[in-house]
């Protein structure tokens, strides 16, 4: 039995496949969207891919215009040099330990401050909250001149306390965003819960500790991750207050100088080339990349948590 092919039906099915019922669900539309997305993400990822590929290239590959995306030989030597210059693995532990301290301080303090703003009504709250948000746009370079003097008077210049103290008091890097995230989260907890605890005789601190904090654990994670990333990436303020070679990015900034110390110019086969520089860059961002791919969900969900899109 041979079924007769209906040309008309085929045509309409093809049309349906290509354009869909309302064009929005057709094949062409989707195809165009995927093409656009893929090309945009290529543009986006191009510097990272460039960094990754070129960090494996030998000097010959770097010069050779025929080698673009796939190196002829994977040169691991670049990475071992970069490790040596950046004092791996000691520097990564030092950086992580320092950033961990600061970001935990920032997270804990902003959770307390956010709770104060979200839960209680007090005179002048709106003005204070507006000031809190406005501190976001104040560059730390405006306050650096006077802050230097303050730190010198407190005698904590060139120590980690210069970053820890502002973090503890909710004035660190992007602290306004962290407080805002906690504020929005605590707003979503039904007040009935806390009122019933209050009727049962719990003090406000007990309510905060036993009801609000356990519920806010996802916010804690988000704020911690962001503060970790931002404190890791901060170089200007850290170099100014804490010191020149505390974190990995700061060591990277001085890469050329420290490379020439380790491998003096003139040593055979030891010239600094772009591949080694890029290997150093890759090593510096690698911990953050790992962190990002492990906790990717929390990063991309963070925007919903800030609640700036309104409810």
């Amino acid at each position: 039995m041979k079924r007769k092919i209906d040309v008309g039906e085929l045509k309409s099915r093809l049309k349906r496949f290509l354009f869909g019922m309302k064009f929005m669900d057709g094949f062409i539309f989707k195809f165009v969207i995927y093409i656009l997305l893929i090309s945009f993400s290529y543009i986006y990822l191009y510097p990272i891919l460039y960094m990754l590929v070129n960090s494996f290239k030998t000097v010959d590959d770097l010069i050779n215009p025929g080698v673009r995306w796939v190196p002829t030989v994977f040169e691991w030597e670049n990475y071992s040099r970069a490790f040596e210059v950046l004092e791996f693995p000691q520097s990564i532990f030092d950086t992580t330990w320092y950033v961990l301290k600061v970001s935990i301080a920032a997270t804990v303090s902003s959770s307390i401050i956010g709770y104060g703003f979200a839960r209680f009504k007090f005179p002048g709250k709106k003005i204070l909250f507006a000031i809190m948000l406005a501190t976001f746009i104040l560059p730390s370079q405006v306050t650096m001149v006077a802050n230097m003097i303050i730190y010198q008077r407190l005698d904590i210049m060139s120590s980690e306390w210069t970053m820890l103290l502002p973090a503890i008091t909710g004035q660190g890097i992007n602290a306004a965003i962290f407080i805002l995230i906690f504020y929005q989260f605590y707003k979503t907890i039904p007040t009935v819960l806390m009122e019933s605890a209050e009727v049962d005789g719990a003090s406000q601190f007990r309510i905060f500790r036993t009801i609000a904090l356990p519920l806010a654990l996802p916010s804690f994670l988000i704020v911690f991750l962001f503060s970790f990333v931002w404190y890791w990436n901060e170089t200007f303020i850290t170099a100014l207050y804490v010191g020149g070679a505390v974190t990995l990015p700061l060591k990277l900034q001085a890469f050329r100088a420290s490379y020439e110390l380790l491998f003096p110019p003139g040593t055979a086969g030891a010239e600094l080339n772009e591949a080694i520089m890029l290997a150093g860059n890759m090593v510096t961002i690698l911990p953050l990349l790992v962190l990002y791919f492990v906790a990717q969900r929390y990063f991309t969900e963070s925007i919903d948590r800030t609640g700036i899109t309104g409810e």
């Binding site: 986006y44 306050t143 961002i285």
Partner: protein, 365 residues
């Protein structure tokens, strides 16, 4: 009568000492009574007050909805007052930090910007009031002025670019496509890894310009035909195009979150009434994310301004501050650095306000 007269006489005759003692006793008794009266009236209440204080929590007492401090200040506690107290208690640490690490440094650096100020190991900061001289010097500087105009030019071109780009990406990702999470991951990635040294290195190796843009005819035409005032920032921007687009990471997610809040029924109703996809974009999608543009403008301007380029404005301010000395003729110390930072901050706020106005319009909420 006899007896009465006799009794006082006998002791006087017998013992002189005893009589004297009795007299003394009478004297004492009289004053003892005065003393005890005084003690009873003045001192005892004082002791009983101390006793009361020790047994009744005088310093701080909280009973019957009333807080009594030193039995003197009486505060009726209402729910509102208790909440206000706890509210201030929770944000106390922030208030202290705001005063010490933000407000005081801010106004002190404003004050310093009207001074010639140098750091001195013996005396701390030595200031001399010079009025607006620092700002006039900035306006005369042949190094800083081009940097400031460059900054403005970069902002004027790249902020709209970032906003438009992020709206396009957000609308694309918001379509019913597969693997939404992966796209979000890709477009958020730059936020994680964009640290100053890495960006500088990428820029130095020209990995940030679009691969085929450099040699294109449009690029050459633009650089050759425009005046350098416009062409220079333009070439800078085209050379660091990818870096600029990297700032769109957070705006994309903000717009995406806004788009997901739009009621799908709106789109259905519009398409039933015959609106095309194009119409729906302009009439529904764009108005619904318009309020978010202001937020994104603020974020983009701030994050772009805080990127420190070697030899840029912020870098110069730092060098002026650290190297500046009274006998130096190139670096002018704390006051000049503060003035630079303040001018930069004001420009930033102006750029933000103008863009938020132009894009967002008036917010009706």
């Amino acid at each position: 009568m006899k007896k009465k007269q006799a009794t006082p006489k006998t002791p006087r005759r017998d013992f002189f000492l005893r009589q004297w003692l009795l007299k003394f006793k009478g004297f004492l008794a009289k004053y003892w009574e005065i003393f005890t009266q005084w003690w009873y009236r003045k001192i005892s209440p004082f002791f009983s007050k101390i006793k009361y204080a020790l047994t009744h929590n005088v310093v701080f007492r909280f009973e019957h909805q009333k807080i009594t401090i030193f039995s003197f200040i009486k505060i009726r506690t209402t729910r509102r007052r208790i909440y206000a107290f706890y509210g201030f208690l929770f944000i106390l640490i922030w208030l202290v930090g705001l005063a010490v690490f933000t407000l005081y440094p801010m106004f002190y650096s404003l004050y310093l910007s009207f001074n010639r100020a140098y750091y001195n190991l013996q005396q701390g900061v030595v200031t001399t009031w010079i009025g607006f001289q620092n700002f006039i010097n900035i306006a005369r500087s042949s190094i800083l002025l081009p940097l400031f105009s460059d900054y403005l030019g970069r902002m004027v071109i790249s902020v709209p670019l970032i906003i438009v780009f992020s709206i396009i990406i957000a609308v694309l990702v918001n379509n019913p496509i597969k693997m939404k999470g992966i796209w979000r991951t890709i477009f958020f990635l730059p936020v994680i890894i964009s640290t100053g040294p890495v960006l500088n290195e990428l820029m130095a190796q020209e990995a940030t310009s679009l691969p085929s843009l450099q040699s294109s005819a449009v690029f050459n035409y633009l650089t050759n035909s425009l005046s350098p005032l416009i062409a220079d920032p333009l070439t800078n921007i085209l050379n660091s195009m990818l870096m600029i687009l990297w700032y769109a990471g957070i705006p994309i997610l903000v717009f995406l979150a806004g788009l997901q809040k739009v009621d799908p029924a709106l789109y259905e109703a519009a398409s039933i009434d015959g609106a095309s996809a194009w119409d729906r974009f302009w009439k529904i999608t764009l108005p619904s994310i318009k309020p978010l543009i202001g937020v994104n403008v603020v974020y983009v301007v701030v994050s772009m301004s805080l990127y420190v380029q070697g030899g840029g404005i912020l870098d110069l301010a730092r060098t002026h501050m650290l190297v500046g000395a009274p006998d130096s003729s190139i670096w002018y110390g704390y006051g000049y650095a503060a003035a630079i930072a303040w001018v930069y901050f004001l420009l930033m706020v102006i750029v933000m306000a103008v863009f938020a106005r132009v894009f967002g319009g008036r917010r009706e909420r």
